[in-house]
Amino acid sequence: MRIRRLGPVATLMAALWFSPGLHGQAQGGPRVPSSGPKGDQPFDPHDLSGPWIGERPRPGILNFGSFDQKIPEPPLTDWARQHLLYKSISHDALGGTHIPGWDRAGHVCYVTSEPCFSADPNGVPANDPDGEYPGKDCEPLSSPAVYDWPRNGEMELLFTRAGDRIFQLFEYHREWRTFWLNREHPKDLDPTYEGDSTAHWDRDTLVVDTIGYNGKTMVTVNVGHSKSDAFHLVERFRRVDHDHVVLDMTYYDPKAWGDKFWPGFRKYFMLAPKEDFQEFICSPREYQSYDKAVTIPEERAKSTKQVE
């Protein structure tokens, strides 16, 4: 059965696309960008509506989950080592103990199918098919882990405004977040999976500040521990030309890293106006079926065989 177009949703999205409701206070009106053959059309830097899709790899960037971020994680506090580490993670790590043969000719690290590390810097085993990953068992991904999936021409996200809020919608697992434009974080914040996000325009950059996470989700797919409930995410969205948005993120977690923070995570998105915002629902039954057919047989046959 072929997928039907979501006619009413598409119509709504088109109406919002042309609505001024999503725009901030544009300074000087539309600007012509200075780079990129596909981006050289007039655009309003305060219009983030989209829809956007994770850019495919290009020279200088992989944009494939967290893999291409090579900034070392701050050292964990003793409390974090006791309370946040996972038993194992399913994907590669960002650093740590190399697997045998990782430096052989032709081996490419930082690609899902070519592991580089047997354990992360904190000793958490990596590349375990039964390990933890964002959205496992259809659990919420939460930010910033949810950004691991808009990548490589896949998994859209879009922004839509309703009054004093901007909603950020992710195709992957149909997660969505609310960015409040006209208020501060509540003092009596109730922790949630997505946290509480406030946003404001800093010239042409939408700055989003999120706290109030419930501590039940991963930092990203390649980090072997969860966020604590003190995790603090700062995102900066900047539309650099008509067809591209760049997201810069900084991670803070006083319980995990003390007074240190983890900067430099960047995602690249490109405009995908002709793409459908497809249904990507996490069905526990479908995941169980997949595990039965693939994950469990591989797990049972786990061996010490080295990378070929």
């Binding site: 072929r2 790899p57 021409g153 997949y290 057919a293 046959a301 061996s303």
Partner: protein, 104 residues
């Protein structure tokens, strides 16, 4: 994933679902014994649909040749590259950075 293999067999199931599509394939050996394989897609469903796949692209009973990257753990599991029908039709799976796709 650098190792590549192909198998000719009969489709037993095809599930265009999350997290990865799965293809069930029965492969008859020279001795007449049948081995069952499960081949999953690497990319998510969106990439498959962009490459032309639909939920009815494969049906139980279809005779096909599947090109895939076999599991490194010596089980009958692999990651799909493409499916070729007896009449020459190809269901590719375009993946960025995959340098091991066989020539059509």
């Amino acid at each position: 994933m650098t190792a590549t293999r192909s198998l000719k067999g009969t489709i037993t199931s095809f599930d265009l679902a999350n997290p990865h599509a799965q293809i069930g394939l029965d492969v008859k050996g020279d001795s007449g014994s049948v081995e069952h394989w499960t081949v999953e897609s690497g990319p998510a469903i969106r990439a498959m649909k962009e490459a032309g796949w639909h939920s009815d692209s494969l049906k139980p009973g279809d005779e096909v040749t599947i090109f895939f990257h076999p599991s490194k753990r010596s089980v009958n599991v692999g990651v799909l590259i493409q499916v070729v029908f007896p009449d020459g039709r190809v269901l590719p799976l375009k993946t960025s950075g995959d340098k091991t796709q066989p020539n059509n």
